[in-house]
Amino acid sequence: MTDLAWIDAALTAARPQAVAALLRYFRNLDTAEEAFQNACLRALNHWPQNGPPRDAAAWLIMVGRNAQLDEVRRSRKQTALPDEAAISDLDDAEGQVAERLDNADYRDDILRLLFICVHPELPATQQVALALRIVSGLSVRQIARAFLVGESAMEQRLTRAKAKVAEAEVPFEAPGAPERAERLAAVAAMVYLIFNEGYSAGGESAADRAPLCEEAIRLARLLLRLYPAEPEIMGLTALMLLQHSRAAARFDAQGQIVLLDDQDRTKWNGKFIAEGIALIDKAMRHRRPGAYQVQAAIAALHARAATPADTDWSEIDLLYQTLERLQPSPVVTLNRAVAVSKLQGPEAALAMLEPLAARLGNYFHFHGVKGAFLQQLGRLKEAKLAFDRAIALANTPAEAAHIRQHLDKLNVSS
């Protein structure tokens, strides 16, 4: 089975490792990408007959490097071209490269490639776009569609982002342990950003953006293969798997948001849930709690509940308290208020919102949640005000439409 779609999957899988190693050779992103492109072209010529080689990444690194060196020599108009025979015996060369580049090299290479995208001067969305382009190898058109912008606008953004990255001095020696941990944390945050770009999309654009969620999960699994004993990477992967497991149930046929309580749980992806729960179980063993692990544990409690009534809200409340300690934020407290409303009723939950008003006054979810609590308390006029405010702050048409449904119910009952 050697048709192009399968070869494409093999090239996609090998890309992070190959581009990362080529970047170390050439110390220049454009050159590394060009070398990889050249190698892919050769792969498309060679692989269809015999299928991809056993170590596709090593093949691509070797061929990409040689092709690029040829190009440089040619452009310098040197007469002495390399001996073709020297690169024609790929089996041998492949073995040598594979030997030289052991796992530790690959790890640092790939981490570096991801890390250069996390450039502090680049806005988050550009970091994400850059990573999708150079690490994941998504086409400019795919990325443009995911960000709902035109292709040429995205092309320009990527060019500017690459220029920024090229100016930055990224050290090429192997990082020390503290530096490696720092890079890993920054890269993990970026992977979660990619996920959220996909996850937070509204109904009608959800299909265009779903690939971002899948790509983020693929990158997280890659990180986890490189750093198998990092509980926060397990937590991050679990969190994304558990959230993405609900993708088919989060919007109805009209693209309207369906809340967790109302979702058809048979549409949840059981395989993702199993993998997410397995990872969170593994992570907990390390007894090094972190924000991703706690959020994943919360998502796992929702995933384990066969019906909304089975949800273990007291455990969720405890986990949110842990999260408040690890990563204090009014948004975390807002989420805990929802758990408290289930445990102690809307009055206690509403009291928790008061101190948050100053900091979350412009936050869509704050007013949506507040409106829901007020509605449960029968304070319908105040609920309407909160919902109106939420609609004004909605980030997507689907969010606004969802709050309008609440308003419609209010109008019926008042």
Binding site: A9, A13, A56, R221, M234
Partner: protein, 124 residues
């Protein structure tokens, strides 16, 4: 005789398949499975979650060490298995060939089973 047909593949490549590609492979494998069921030759079948979900208990030290990840770092990973009743190695190979034709890439290890307890009973 019972054979285990162990399926190895590079999981990063399998992970790069689109959902359509993955579904297509599964649909083709189901055809082969159905045929084996009709012949009364198919035992348990499993597709394993990625090795990133694996944990290994190593007995090199006492007490045994718990390690995150698969037992061995290999180019191709054990991603699933079939238990199939076969009259001979030739028949087992024939079955593996049919499974291989349904699945792009990867390798199959055909391993005769010495002890089999499908329901956890004392076996045969």
């Amino acid at each position: 005789m019972q054979y285990a047909i162990l399926c190895y593949h590079q999981e990063d490549v399998v992970g790069a398949w689109s959902k359509e590609q993955d579904d297509a492979v599964m649909a083709r494998l189901i055809v082969v499975q159905d045929k084996l069921v009709k012949q009364g030759r198919l035992g348990p079948v499993a597709r394993l979650l990625p090795t990133t979900a694996a944990t290994t208990l190593r007995k090199d030290s006492d007490p045994p060490l718990v390690i995150d990840g698969p037992f061995a770092e290999t180019k191709e990973q054990l991603l699933g298995f079939y238990i199939v009743d076969c009259t001979s190695l030739d028949q087992a190979l024939e079955t593996a060939r049919e499974l291989a034709a349904a699945n792009p890439g990867g390798s199959y290890e055909i391993r005769p089973i010495g002890y089999f307890a499908p329901n956890g009973s004392s076996g045969k």
